[in-house]
């Protein structure tokens, strides 16, 4: 595993129904590229929730070199672990530097914890995020901080053969709060 600063990024998969609205998709041909989206109000509905059985907010950590590769790596990992449910590639990804988040949010006391709870030996590893505080204002604070620190990307499949996706960054993730809403505390 690499120990570079880059390798502290973790990613959370966003489901298709978390992402709504009119998107000005760039016309990108065959390669996966990172582009700035001009879409506004990208995520309109509060639909991020913990999956059944999850006890922490689930992120994946990949050790690939750049964002596009990392995100696709995480998607491949999710597909690998999907146990038949699969996932849509017309969806999105949240990116967070967990070391920065850990330092910035825990500067006055421990409010969040990130941990590698992966039992497998795969290189793309599962990370959990726990919000430790029960105080509602502190929880607001944590989630706002996570929103500030995260980047959000949309994925759009361009073709199935070969499997090709556009990767677009967008602003105003909006209602990420609900992701942490059902976090056990």
């Amino acid at each position: 595993m690499k120990n570079s600063i880059e390798s502290t990024f973790v990613y959370r998969y966003l489901k298709t129904n978390d992402i709504r609205g009119d998107i000005q998709w760039r016309d990108i041909h065959s390669d996966v590229q990172l582009e700035q989206s001009t879409a506004k109000d990208f995520i309109k509905e509060a639909t991020l929730t913990l999956d059944p059985g999850e006890t922490d907010i689930s992120f994946f950590r990949s050790f690939k070199e750049n964002d596009a590769n990392r995100i696709l790596d995480v998607l491949d990992e999710l597909r690998h672990r999907a146990s038949g449910r699969g996932f849509s590639v017309n969806s999105g990804m949240m990116k967070l530097d967990f070391e920065v988040a850990h330092d910035d949010i825990n500067d006055e006391g421990e409010l969040v914890r990130f941990f590698d709870n992966d039992k497998t030996k795969r290189e793309c590893r599962h990370y959990g995020l726990l919000i430790l505080t029960k105080n509602s204002i502190e929880r607001l604070e944590v989630v706002n901080a996570l929103l500030e620190l995260s980047n959000f990307y949309a994925l759009k499949q361009k073709s199935k053969t070969p499997d090709t996706r556009d990767l677009l960054e967008f602003r105003e993730p909006g209602v990420f709060f609900t992701l942490a809403r059902d976090t056990p505390i």
């Binding site: 204002i137 901080a145 929103l147």
Partner: protein
């Protein structure tokens, strides 16, 4: 203070940035006005500064006046018997018995109706009747409290959600930091603002009590100002 007196005050005190003297709402307009005055000082003549200041002042007053009028009409609507957030299983949540022109002018209440309606329906499907009734009352009261601030929220780009832990309604504003307000069945508002810096993350959090008096609702701008300019 009469309007004419205010204008005179502006001219007399132009060197002292009259904007600072006005402690009422308006938010970003004030910032724009300050920028305008500063740029005039940097490049224009004294006369030009006076003219531009008066012109900007008129924009500020007009915007402030429009927002104030809108608020007052909205508060009148909330005080009338037409306003009472209610739920029934067929129609979901409805805030108003009848749709007046002022209600039409503040369309974002419909987003809250839809959000609250879904939440209450889900509660009746998933928890006991008694627990669902309790959630319903909390959410409907939260709707009534939140409604007080809609004219101010509509000036920005709110994202609404329901915090299921507390059955409160949240609203997040992004751009120039992230501000989240949590509004429940009482007049208390919990707020938190976070802004990423070059190093570290500044946060400002706390509670606001804008009282049960409806006309005090406009003080919500003081919280919204935490975010500063949004564009």
């Amino acid at each position: 203070m009469a309007k004419n007196d205010e204008n005179e005050n502006v001219v007399r005190n132009r060197n002292s940035y009259f904007v600072i003297d006005y402690k009422e709402e308006i938010g970003s307009y004030e910032v724009e006005l300050k920028d305008l005055v500063k740029s005039s000082l940097g490049s224009g003549s004294y006369t030009s500064l006076g003219e531009r200041t008066l012109s900007a002042y008129s924009v500020l007053m007009s915007a402030r006046s429009r927002l104030n009028e809108k608020r007052n009409r909205w508060y009148d609507e909330l005080e009338s018997s037409n306003f009472k957030p209610e739920f029934n299983s067929d129609n979901g949540v409805r805030f108003f018995h009848q749709t007046s022109s002022e209600v039409e002018n503040t369309p974002s209440y419909r987003d809250i109706e839809a959000l609250a309606g879904r939440y209450i329906k889900q509660a009746f499907d998933s928890v006991s009747q008694q627990a669902a009734e309790e959630k319903k009352v909390l959410i409907l009261n939260a709707c009534a409290q939140l409604s007080r601030y809609l004219p101010d929220f509509e000036e920005r780009r709110p994202h609404y959600f329901i915090d299921s832990h507390s059955s409160k309604i949240g609203v997040t504003f992004q751009g120039g930091g992230t501000l989240t307000l949590l509004i429940g069945a009482t007049t208390e508002i919990e707020f938190s603002y976070a802004e990423k810096q070059q190093s570290g993350m500044t946060r400002v959090s706390g509670t606001a009590k804008l009282t049960k008096h409806l006309r005090n609702s406009k003080n919500i701008w003081k919280l919204l100002q935490l975010q500063g300019r949004t564009d």
